[in-house]
Amino acid sequence: MDLRKRWIPDYQLDVSFEHPVESRPAVTWRCQRCGKLPTRGPCTCGRRCYYCRHCLMFGKLRTCDHLVTDPRPLDPVRPDRHSELHLTVDQQRIADAITQTIEQRKRLLVHAVCGAGKTPMLFPGIERALCSNKRVLITTPRADVVRELTGHLKRAFQQADIVSLFGGSPDRLKLGEITISTTHQLVHYRTCFDVVFIDEVDAFPYQADRTLHRYVRQAMSPDAALILLSATPSVRNRLLPTVRLMRRYHGFPLPVPELRVPYTTNDVLHWLQQHPAKPRLVFVPRVEALKTWQGVLEQQGLASETVHAADPDRVQKVERFRRTTGILLTTTILERGVTLPDVQVAVLDADQSFSVAALIQISGRVGRSADFPEGEILFFANDRSNAMYQAVHQIKRANREGFQ
């Protein structure tokens, strides 16, 4: 087990670990792993013992525990080149900006629309980082995005040591030359990454949870370059130096959502029956609505499947949906990270509890592949919310900016 730049509780340490270790108390006035304030708890150690309730999932830390690490420095990074790449002129512009940021160790926000081809734009920057002995981290709040990115990068960088970290991954506590990780898993890492990409910065839970920001900051080395990637950045993130890419990689404009206000159940059924040969993705605002809509569709003889966040076989269901042409009812969990060719999307009750970012991301599911660059995206609503109109407005504005 290699522990350099990683801190783990002493009771998780192998007995066979022969290298010298450096240790420090696990909980002082705050938890030394996650940084939150601890809670008093009973303990047989006999002292005033506190434990951290916030990072219990990674193993309980008490005042009487220690965190240990291996103080030796890390091995240098092996340089590696990415495989052949075809970037459009716009993508090349962004890739150059990223490379420059990495060289100058600065911060950058890449504001690129859904389906702009963000992943290949990172490759020149990653290559430059690897060649100048810098460790690369790509982090994102979503585990499914981690899985997808790992596949992309393994294909692009053949020799580099690529580690993919998410809850239950086999690479736990490893450190590669390129590390792809969910933000939660960074809790064990300290000052080891020189180039940090955060994909989908505005996704739940990263945007709301300040402890995750701390995990990322602790994992960065002091003069690391930080590059944020998003299609819908928050106002706060937009304060950073920004490069914008408002055009998809295949050069077609973003499909503009159509509003259906007001609507009846028959409108939805009619629309679903119009596209019998295509996969149809239907978003609903709440988990309870999944069951009711499934019942309504069944009465009309339309078979459908449902997915929500707490669904145990959600990954398999989406995989199955990729191969068939059916109807998938889902909550907002599928708003990002899924690419389905020729998918048609409807949002039911779009006025309820969908934010602007969510609606833009949902609209971005349509027409992502170059073979089917067009598709329908419909907002069904019985009331008008600002979010719906702002989403439509921002998509139209992005199209104007991309094609001027």
Partner: protein
Amino acid sequence: MKCLLCDQDFLPSWALSNVWTRQTLCPTCKIEFVKRGECTDCGKPGQPFCLDCHNWRQQGELLVTHPLFLYHPPAKAFMRRYKFLGDTALLDVFQTELKKVKVKQDWIVPIPLSPERLRDRRFNQAELIGRMMRGRIRLVLERTDGPALSQLSRQQRLDRDNPFHVTESVAGKTILLVDDVYTTGITLRQAASRLREAGAKEISAVTLFRSV
């Protein structure tokens, strides 16, 4: 107030009971525990006197146990977090229920952990439950045993030798045993028989959950 599960601030309801109780979970995290069942001896749902207890009575091992709740999925999630992850502060969820338990016995005796297990876990979950109740807690039992109970089958559990022994004099005392989960009842009955051998007058038991 802070919710114990999601750590978010929430506004407690304006019920008068807030004067003497403390709301620990916010409305969205509220865990719906299922109350105990009908069996008078062990709280199993179904009949007023269940088959297990009938068998126990035929063997002459009488022990009346009062579980508070049934061991349903929400209770299992609670136990996973409380006992196996070690989130001891979460026990506050049961503060009001445990305070309401009427303790007329002289001593509350929690079921002990084996020394090895206590070294790993560093707290005794049954003792914490006992300390929440209103009564005098005495640690008069000790345990020396082998494998973990949760890895044994029902028959293996019933065949096991008695791992408990009494360290103090309990002659003439009425005793309330406390444990976290009642599954077959073997643990509590073994402890009870040792206490009875040592001269305890009357023994009953309280557990947090009754597994179904």
